[in-house]
Symmetry: C3
Subunit: 349 residues, 3 copies
C-alpha cells in the first residue's frame, strides 16, 4: 500500500511544497520516519527533531514552515498539522483495509421483521430482532445483539459483542467498540418500607451522528424520556452514562468516567479519566474536568476544574490525612490565635 | 393500552376518590400530564404544581390530600405515593409488553444434561451447560451463557449477552442486565519470589431473590466459600464485587462502585456512584456512603459517610493542593504559635 | 477426589514429617479443617489456631515448625507456606476437573484460514477469523471472538464471551475472564475547529506468558506501536489499560484500576483497587499504589504511595471540606500570625 504525495494532497487539501510524484508508504513518528514516510510537526518544541527527521514529507503550519531550516524534503502546509496527520492516517488505513463483503452471515439470527440494508455486513452469530433497522454500509461484528425497533444509521460500525437493546437509535458514521451495552435499564427504584420497587425504564437512547462509544461502556435507557448523546461525542472505555443524561455535542470523555442520572453536560467539554458527575447537575459548554475529580455541583462557567487528593509517599499521606481529619479544629485554633495576637498587639501599643 | 382507574386501584390498593370508570392510558410527570394520564405528588415542594396539573388522576398522601386544593380530578391516597407510582408504572409496562413465547430457540446450544422449564424462554445463540437448571417463566436473552450446574430461579430475566458461570445461583424474580459477568475467578494469588501463583477459586456465587444486577457489573466467585448477594439487593452498572463479599439484603449501589474481597456489607445500605470499599471490612446496616468516597476502615455505626476532595477551579485547586501536601508542617507551625502566644500572654499579665 | 500425602509432596516438594500414606481429600481453613484436610500456617499470629487445628496435615515454615507445639499430625515444611498452599489448591483443583474433549463445537464459526491446534477446545458459538492461530491445549469458551491474525499461545484459557480482536497476541498459560475486550481502538483524536478527527489505531496488543486478565477488563490496541503486557502480569476485573501502555512483568492490579495512554509501569508493582495513572507517566519497579489514589506524576523511587481523601461522617466532612477549599487563605493567616508574633516577641525582649 502506497500513494503519490500529490494524490494525498489532492484528497486532503493543504499546500504542497515538493514533488507530487513522491511515493509515500505510510506515517511514522519524527524520529523513526524514513524517506517513504510522512510525519508531522505540531509542537514547536519538536522543531529541532523535525529539522533532523529522515521523513520524505512533513506536515507543518505556515509559521513553523517559515522557521524551520535544515529540512530538505517535501512539506505540506496546513492550518492544523495534527488534524491533517489524523486524516492522513485515515487515508492510509483505508488503503490497507479490505472492506468485508456485504451480506448476512448464515449463522446470524435475523428476524423476518428486521430491515437490513443490502450493503450492510452482518457478521457470524449476530441477533437482530423484529422492527430493527440497519442502514447502508453498516458493519455489525460477530456476536452483536440489536434489539426490537433499534435503529443503526448508515456507515456505522459495531465491533464484536455489542449489546444494542430495544428502542435505541444511533446515527451515521458511528463506531461502537466491543462489549458496550446501549439501552440497559436505568437504575430507578422507589423505596417502600425498606424494599426497592422497580420503576420500569421505558425511554430509549438517542445517539447522534459521528459518535464513538468505547469498549464495555454502558449507556442506560431513560425512565420515560430517552437518554441523549449528541453529535460528535467521543466516549472512551468503561464509561457509565446513567438514565436521562444529555451529553452535549462534541464532548469527549476518557476511560472510566461516570455520569449519574439526569445530568446535562454541555457541548465541547472534556472529562479526564475516572472523573465523576453527580445526578441532576448541569455543566456548561467548554468545561474541562481533570482526571479523578468528582463534580458535586453544577458548573455554569467554562474553564478547567479539578478535585483530587494529591499523591504522596504513604507515610507522608498518613501525616497529612490525620491533619485533614481535624482541619476545622485547626481553623478554630488559628482564629483563637488571631484573637490573642490582636489583644496582645492592642495592649502593646 | 389503557385501564379503568378502578381496575388499577383494585390491583394496587389505596383509596380512590373519584370515578373508577375513568380511562387512564399511562403515567406522566406533573407538568406534562393530560386528562388520560395518572401522575403523583411525593415532594411537598411540588404541591403548587400538583394543584395545576392537567392529569386525570393524582397519587398522593393523606396529608397532601388534605392540604391540596384546586385539583379537581381523581385522587388515589397512598401511604407512599412514590412507591405507588412505581407499581403503577409496572402495571402499565406489563400491559404494554407481550411476553415472548416459551421455548428454546433453534440456534441455542443447550446441553442434554441441562434442565430448562417448559415455560422458560431461551433466546437465540444461548449456551446452557450440563447440570444447569433454568426455572419456570425465565427469559434468557440472546447470546447468554449459563455454566455447568448453575441455577436460575423462576421468573428471572437475563438480558442479552450475560455470562453466568458454573456453580452460580440466582433466586426468583431476578434481573441481570447485559454484559454482566457472574462467577469470574476471584483475584487470589500467592507471591513466590516475585511470581504470582494462582489460588484456584472454587467457591460459587449465591444470589437471593429479587436481585437486580446492572450492565457490565462483575461478581466474582469465592475462593472456597461462595460470594453472597442477599435478597433484594440492587446493583447498578459497572460495579465490581470481589470474591467472598457478602452484600446484605436490600442494599443498593449506584454505578461504578467497587467492593474488595471479603468485605461484609450490611442490610439497607446505599452507596453513591464510584464509592469504593477496601477488603475484609465490615459495614453495619443502614450505612450510606457518598459518591466518590473510599471506605478504608470498618463502619459500625449507621449514618452518612463522605470522603472526596472538593472540586475547584484548577488554579484554586493547585493552591490548596500545595498546602495539603504540607499540612503536617502547618500544624506544627500552629503549635509553635500557640506556645509563643502563651508565653507572651503569660509575660503580659 | 483424594490423594496420598506422599504423592502431593513428591509433586510439589517440601519436607514431609509424617505418614506419606495419609489420605487427603482437600484443603480447608485452620478452624474448619478435619483429619482428611490439609491446611497452612503463614501468619505467626495464627500459631495458636494452628496448634488447635483438626487438620490431618499442616504446611508451615521451618521457623514455625520449631515453635509449634501441640499439633500432632503430619507437617510439610516449606520456605513459602502460602505459595505451597496455592500450589496444593491447584493440585486438588486439577484432580477435580475433567478436561473438556478437544475439538471444535459444530455451532462455532471458524474461518478456513484460521489455524486451531488439534488439542484445543473451541466452545459453542465461538467465532475465529482468518489468520488467527490458537495453540495446543487452549480452551476457548462459548461465545468468544478471536479476530483476524490474532494469536493465542498454548494452554491459554478464555472463559465465555471474551472479545480478542484482530492482531492481538497472548502467550502461553494465559487466562482471560469473561467479558474482557482485548484490542479495542485506543482513544485517539485530533481536534479540528471543535470536531474530533479519529486517528486510526493500527498497533495491536502484545501479552506475554502467564498473564491473567479479569472479567470486563479492557486493553486497547496501540496507535502505531502495540500496547504491551509483559509476562506474569495479573489484572483483576473492570481494569482499563489505554493504548501504548507498557505494564511491566509480574505487576498486579486490583479491580477498577485505570491506566491512561502511553504510561510505562515498572515490574513487580501493585495497584490497589480503583487507583488511576495519568497518561505518559513512568512508574519505577516495585512501586505500590494504594487503593483509590490518582498518580499524577511519574514515580522514580520504589515504595508505597497514597492519595485519597479520608472518609468521615458526612457532617464532619462538610466542615473539613469547607476548610480545604480555603487552605491557601489559612496558610496566609498563619504567616501573618508568625510575623505578628515575631514582632511582639522582639519588642518583648
Amino acid at each position: 500500500m502506497s500513494t503519490r504525495l500529490g494524490d494525498l494532497v489532492d484528497s486532503l487539501g493543504g499546500e504542497l511544497i515538493g514533488d507530487p510524484a513522491l511515493t509515500i508508504t505510510g506515517i511514522a513518528p519524527l524520529e523513526a520516519a524514513g524517506p517513504s514516510h510522512i510525519t508531522f510537526l505540531s509542537n514547536p518544541k519538536l522543531r529541532a527533531a523535525a529539522a533532523g527527521t529522515g521523513a520524505g514529507a512533513l506536515i507543518l503550519s505556515r509559521a513553523e514552515h517559515e522557521k524551520l531550516a535544515g529540512y530538505a524534503c517535501a512539506r505540506i502546509i496546513s492550518d492544523n498539522p495534527y488534524a491533517y496527520f489524523a486524516r492522513t492516517a485515515q487515508y492510509f488505513a483505508a488503503l490497507a483495509t479490505q472492506p468485508p463483503l456485504p451480506g448476512i452471515h448464515p449463522s446470524a439470527s435475523v428476524d423476518a421483521g428486521a430491515s437490513v440494508a443490502p450493503s450492510a455486513v452482518i457478521g457470524p452469530l449476530v441477533t437482530i430482532e423484529a422492527g430493527a433497522i440497519v442502514g447502508e454500509h453498516c458493519v455489525i461484528g460477530a456476536g452483536c445483539f440489536i434489539g426490537k425497533d433499534a435503529r443503526v444509521g448508515a456507515h456505522t460500525l459495531f465491533y464484536p459483542n455489542v449489546s444494542f437493546l430495544a428502542d435505541c437509535h444511533i446515527g451515521e458514521r458511528g463506531i461502537v467498540q466491543s462489549g458496550a451495552v446501549i439501552g440497559g435499564d436505568g437504575f430507578g427504584f422507589a423505596n417502600d418500607k425498606g424494599r426497592w420497587i422497580k420503576i420500569p425504564q421505558t425511554g430509549g437512547v438517542r445517539i447522534g451522528d459521528d459518535v464513538e462509544i468505547g469498549a464495555n461502556t454502558t449507556i442506560d435507557r431513560g425512565a420515560l424520556d430517552p437518554t441523549v448523546i449528541e453529535d460528535g461525542v467521543k466516549l472512551d472505555n468503561q464509561i457509565q452514562i446513567a438514565h436521562n443524561c444529555v451529553i452535549g455535542a462534541h464532548t469527549a470523555m476518557a476511560g472510566c468516567v461516570g455520569v449519574a442520572g439526569s445530568a446535562k453536560i454541555g457541548k465541547h467539554c472534556t472529562f479526564g479519566g475516572a472523573a465523576m458527575v453527580l445526578g441532576h447537575l448541569t455543566i456548561a459548554d467548554n468545561v474541562h474536568i481533570s482526571s479523578g475529580s468528582l463534580v458535586s455541583r453544577s458548573i455554569s462557567e467554562s474553564g478547567q476544574y479539578t478535585g483530587f487528593y494529591p499523591l504522596a509517599k504513604n507515610a507522608d499521606w498518613e501525616k497529612t490525612a490525620a491533619v485533614v481529619r481535624q482541619l476545622d479544629a485547626m481553623r478554630d485554633r488559628v482564629r483563637e490565635l488571631e484573637k490573642a495576637v490582636r489583644e496582645l498587639t492592642a495592649k502593646d501599643k
